[in-house]
């Protein structure tokens, strides 16, 4: 059993940048800086030998010099079958490459904090499917981390943001446009409960696509002039990509940027205005708008029903995105959130809420609540209100939300006139997180024509934990076994969905067609699906856990782990 205050590292494993955070013993979430002293670490790996690599800023610099041994955007390939990259004669899976990034983070954190880091909560885009989640967990294992849970990035962001706003009831939209993925989630904060209402996104839309538009534009201009395409060679391409990326970032604060191109002895400077850039990427912005509207529609809300719009991810710094959301919501986005940090902060907090129920800061907060409730009671007893108090029952044990005096890290106090606590005073309110599924889970059945069909049992957007119980029947006479094939994805045909697990109940007595079989799917907060198959007549049953698989077997993971250990990561 882990110590109650033992660290849980919250890790935002991003497509372009990764970040990490922890919750200190006073209950304050803090970013853990890397060895170079930065809040974020580029998710870039450069292999320079059979068993040595560099991760982060230094690796980015190598991209122009040694483009074939540098990996970027590996997150886009997580969970993809048959995707391996060859470095110095060894094939690496996306899990293994991500594991190298995770190892750098882990080691940097250990160095800064001065103790060993074992447990972690890693975030993934809400729209990731089970294979992608499974692969992320495998990456953690390879890096020697004990991944306690995988949580959704918008949920994590909402936790960090919502922590000093709990107690009331608010609806919030989290718009997360990162380097490679895009997620929109509507959440509700009610009391200390944080609930996901609806969510949608695109695991393949992010800042990189904006970069590429700029790059293609510039390359085309260059080609027109010199009939040469700088994209045709690896190193010049990488160099130009870096320039476009920088130009994109400067266009967020300036109206105009220039992109110098230098290829095969020809040079050219391409100026780009912000308006031009907007024009080049209009359809991407439209995609974002559509997704946001769909998510709201699914939540049965209008823009004006939202209390806050939370912008997460570096790409939301682009004025076109800020303008889009301001236009839609009719008000500016929420202030005071750092789009690069809030995901890892939230992950660290979630780690405490879920896996450290007796963290000293949580205990202290509970203690405070109890004593404050007593104080309120005493005060009321001394001076009873002339008019009957509207909520007299609230005194009996369960304090009113406004009176809780929520505090964390001593920096903020909500409501109730309580005195501001000392800096570094203990305290962290317990928050309950209710996530929702983003992909439907189903079962393969035979329909009335005895043809295979997929029936959805747990639809997307179902709040977890969730339990589904349903009855099925023998399709043929005298069957002696039934097989439950668990599917993920939208569609009614097997080839439209993915089978993520199987449970077989065998040794059944032969009986006629129509003999009932009961199937129970239980989906837990830890994203684990438990499947039970029960033969109603005999009571015989089988239960199994469907683990999200990223595509590597446990043997492969452990041998990858050995290799990872041997590898020098700078």
């Amino acid at each position: 059993m882990a110590q109650d205050d033992e660290i849980v590292l919250g890790i935002d494993l991003g497509t372009t940048f990764s970040a990490m955070a922890h919750v200190n013993r006073y209950g304050k979430p803090e970013i853990v800086t890397n060895a170079e002293g930065y809040q974020t670490t580029p998710s870039v790996v450069h292999f320079y030998d059979e068993d040595a690599c560099i991760v982060g800023e230094e690796a980015v610099k190598m991209v122009v010099i040694d483009p074939h041994n540098v990996v970027r955007f590996i997150k886009r390939h997580m969970g993809e079958e048959h995707f391996t990259l060859d470095f110095f004669g060894r094939d690496y899976t996306p899990q293994e490459i991500s594991a190298l990034i995770l190892r750098k983070l882990k080691e940097d954190a250990e160095e800064l904090l001065g103790f060993e880091v074992k447990d972690a909560v890693v975030t993934v885009p809400a729209y990731f499917n089970s294979a992608q989640r499974g692969a992320t967990a495998e990456a953690g294992q390879i890096a020697g981390l004990n991944v306690l849970s995988i949580i959704n990035e918008p949920t994590a962001a909402a936790i960090a943001y919502g922590l000093d706003r709990i107690g009331g009831k608010r609806k919030l939209l989290v718009f997360d446009l990162g380097g490679g993925t895009f997620d929109v989630t509507v959440m509700e904060i009610r009391g200390t409960r944080l609930t996901t209402i609806s969510s949608d996104g695109n695991a393949e839309l992010g800042g990189k696509d904006w970069d590429d538009r700029l790059l293609n534009h510039v390359a085309e201009q260059f080609y027109e002039k010199f009939q040469l395409d700088p994209r045709d060679d690896a190193a010049p391409y990488q160099e130009l990509y870096e320039r476009c990326l920088n130009a994109k970032i400067s266009l967020s604060s300036k109206e105009r940027a220039v992109i110098p191109v230098n290829y095969r002895g020809q040079r050219m400077v391409v100026p780009v205005t912000r308006d031009q850039f907007v024009e080049l990427t209009q359809d991407l912005v439209d995609q974002c708008e559509d997704t946001a509207n769909i998510v709201l529609e699914k939540a049965r809300l209008r823009w004006e029903d939202l209390d806050d719009v939370l912008l997460v991810g570096g790409s939301t710094r682009m004025p076109m995105i800020r303008d889009l959301l301001e236009g839609l919501a009719g008000k500016p986005a929420a202030e005071g959130v750092n789009p690069d940090e809030c995901v890892s902060l939230g992950a660290a907090l979630a780690g405490v809420f879920r896996h450290r129920p007796n963290h000293p800061a949580l205990l202290a907060q509970r203690q405070q609540m109890v004593s404050r409730a007593k104080e309120v009671k005493r005060a009321e007893r001394k001076a009873p209100a002339p008019v009957k108090a509207p909520e007299p029952v609230a005194d009996s044990g369960r304090p009113k939300a406004a009176a809780i005096g929520l505090a964390y890290g001593g920096s903020r106090v909500a409501g109730g006139g309580a005195a501001a606590p000392e800096p570094e005073q203990y305290g962290l309110p317990g928050v309950t997180i209710e996530d929702a599924t983003t992909h439907p889970l189903g079962i393969v059945v035979l329909d009335r024509n005895r043809e295979e069909r997929v029936v959805e049992l747990i639809p997307a957007g179902t709040r977890v934990p969730h339990r589904y119980k349903g009855r099925f029947a023998y399709a043929y006479e005298n069957m002696t076994a039934v097989r439950v094939e668990v599917t993920e994805g939208v569609g009614s045909r097997r080839d439209e969905v993915t089978v993520i697990g199987k449970v077989e109940l065998t040794g059944l007595p032969p009986r006629p067609r129509g003999t009932p079989i009961e199937v129970i799917y239980s989906y837990g907060v830890d994203q684990i699906l438990q499947v039970r198959v029960i033969d109603v007549e005999t009571g015989k049953e089988k239960e199994a856990q469907i683990q999200f698989q990223g595509g590597m077997t446990s043997d492969q993971v452990s041998s990858a782990r050995d290799h990872n250990r041997r590898m020098a990561v700078d």
């Binding site: 540098v70 990259l85 990488q238 023998y474 097989r483």
Partner: protein, 567 residues
């Protein structure tokens, strides 16, 4: 070499705009396996640096993800290059097929035409073998005989089929066309004597073959047991036999003068079934020229069962009950049922069984609710219908059924299903067909008496789908179209036959629109007879029963049926 890997190699070459992988890698086709593989590995390494490059991304990711498959393909470069050539060939094949069809439309095929086609094939880079196969296949389909050089002139004159240049199985309208053609050819012959002989021969042939009765007698007299209707067949015939003369081998055994021994089998000679967890029933209907006994055997009795094991000596027509059990080892199995009469006539029916992909766990909520419906329906809806005909239960389905279940056991499909020994008493009958409402009712089966149950299925929704402009027309393979239309075509001709006048030919086109799901969802008709609302309804119902495999997303397809009906 695995087909899937070759497919990937082909796809990749297409993606990068190269004819083949050698070209992509900048190597001569004579390069060794080791050379190409090393080059491919090098290329993959290079592409690793390009995988985020928008211009090369698709190519790079394809190469990275399918490197293993491509590498395997290049371990056998010769087989790979051979496959490339074959693919190029098959790309041009449809063009050749169209040319062949155009020529065959004439109903006949002579040596001159064959050499013309052969030349075309060479032009298109199609090998002689592929050309021969295509020609054989298409001439079989269209009922046109290839030229018969191996027949002597004397033989030719004596064989009516050879005179007209048609296959023995050719339907009557093809024979008629061929006769007209032969007559015209004869007229055009400059030598009057030869012209007369030709005309007489053609006339004589038509007189015999034009009338089903005289044609039958002629077939018998020549010892050819293949009957005129396409639905019948005789035992093992060579696979590609269009160049062979019409079947004329005599069956052994004692013979009554003038009447050859014969055995007719109704239905398909090769039958394909999906077998799931339970047994699947089928039947073989047969007729012998005179009542005679015989033996019936299965080559794989452990999964293909047939009953009875002998022919009933007093019956001319009989039905054999076939049961396919899921007892075969592999995913697919093939076996045959052999029928040998006391006179030595032989027939074989080939059964191809494939395991139906299914999870034993099944029938969702849908069926459970259906059961409830069935129970509710059963009250007061007992039916006993028309008796007569052979003993046993005959279920006549209009238009046809995908599956006929009696007490939950599959009895077969098609537009008529015969159950030789049905359980007597009350039974649950269920008939399902895509696009039609599932028909369910309880029937009372009298012991030892024939019973015929007509079932008229109701369309679930009107067939009013028309593809809109933004839909993409998907392609259906020709064999798929044939497979789905074959069981329909006779019934569709019957629909039109209802308004046909003797001697007049009605022709037209029925176009069936298939939705993405693979179901027929609309019909368009154009031609003679379709102004009659009864014909329209009848055709629509037949069309509604057409089902192909599901199409690509957003696609639709059309199946065209050209009818030509003469009474």
């Amino acid at each position: 070499m695995s087909k899937k890997n070759l497919e990937l190699a082909h796809k990749f070459a297409g993606l990068v705009g190269a004819g083949n992988l050698f070209e992509y890698l900048g190597l001569e086709e004579s390069a060794t396996s080791d050379e190409v593989r090393a080059k491919l590995r090098e290329k993959r390494k290079y592409m690793q640096g390009m995988q985020s490059n928008p211009k090369y991304k698709t190519q790079a990711l394809f190469l990275i993800k399918n490197f293993g498959a491509l590498d395997t393909v290049l371990t056998q470069p010769l087989a790979y290059l051979d496959d490339v050539r074959r693919r190029q060939e098959s790309e041009h094949l449809p063009v050749l097929e169209m040319t062949i069809k155009g020529v065959l439309k004439g109903g006949r095929l002579n040596q001159e035409q064959v050499s013309f086609l052969s030349h075309q094939a060479t032009e298109l880079g199609i090998s002689e073998q592929t050309f021969q196969e295509a020609l054989d296949r298409l001439s079989t389909e269209l009922g046109v005989a290839a030229p018969l050089p191996e027949l002597s002139d004397a033989e030719k004159d004596s064989n009516h089929y050879a005179v007209l240049g048609v296959r023995q199985e050719a339907p009557r309208d093809i024979i008629y066309d061929a006769y007209r053609e032969a007559y015209r050819d004869a007229k055009a012959t400059p030598e009057p004597a030869a012209a007369r002989t030709m005309m007489e021969a053609a006339d004589q042939a038509w007189r015999v073959l034009g009338d089903p009765r005289t044609r039958e007698a002629y077939d018998i007299s020549t010892g050819a047991t293949a009957p005129p209707a396409a639905a019948r067949h005789t035992g093992p015939a060579p696979k590609h036999a269009p160049t062979a003369p019409p079947v004329r081998q005599r069956q052994g055994g004692p013979q009554a003068a003038g009447v050859g021994p014969r055995l007719e089998i109704f239905g398909e000679p090769v039958r394909d079934f999906g077998v799931g967890k339970g047994p699947v029933a089928d039947q073989i209907r047969l007729r012998t020229a005179i009542p005679m006994s015989g033996f019936v055997t299965s080559t794989a009795p452990q999964w293909l069962k047939v009953e009875p094991a002998h022919l009933i000596a007093t019956n001319q027509e009989q039905v054999l009950k076939v049961t396919l059990l899921p007892e075969f080892e592999e995913a697919e199995a093939t076996a045959a049922i052999h029928i040998v009469t006391e006179r030595g006539d032989r027939a074989q029916i080939v059964y191809e069984a494939h395991r139906r992909r299914f999870s034993p766990l099944t029938v969702g909520i849908a069926v459970l609710t259906l059961v409830t419906v069935a129970v509710a329906l059963a009250v007061g809806s007992m039916t006993t219908i028309k008796s007569g005909g052979p003993p046993g239960l005959t279920i006549q389905i209009d238009p046809s059924a995908d599956d006929v279940l009696l007490n939950g056991v599959s009895m077969g499909d098609g537009s008529a299903v015969f159950v030789p020994n049905p359980p007597s008493g009350r039974a649950k009958l269920r008939v399902s067909q895509r696009n039609f409402r599932t028909y369910e009712r309880d029937i009372e089966i009298p012991p030892d008496q024939p019973l015929e149950v007509p079932v008229v299925l109701e369309l679930t929704e009107p067939m009013d789908f028309r593809p809109s402009g933004d839909m993409i027309q998907g392609t259906l393979e020709q064999d798929v179209v044939q497979r789905v239309m074959k069981p329909r075509s006779k019934s569709m001709d019957d629909c039109i036959g209802a308004v046909a006048e003797p001697g007049k030919t009605l022709s037209g086109t029925v176009r069936i629109h298939i939705r993405q799901s693979g179901r027929a969802q609309g019909v368009e008709m154009d031609g003679d007879g379709i102004s009659n609302p009864r014909v329209r309804t009848c055709l629509t119902r037949q069309a509604a029963a057409v089902y192909v495999h599901p199409l690509e997303e957003g696609d639709y397809a059309t199946v065209r049926y050209d009818y030509k009906v003469t009474l």
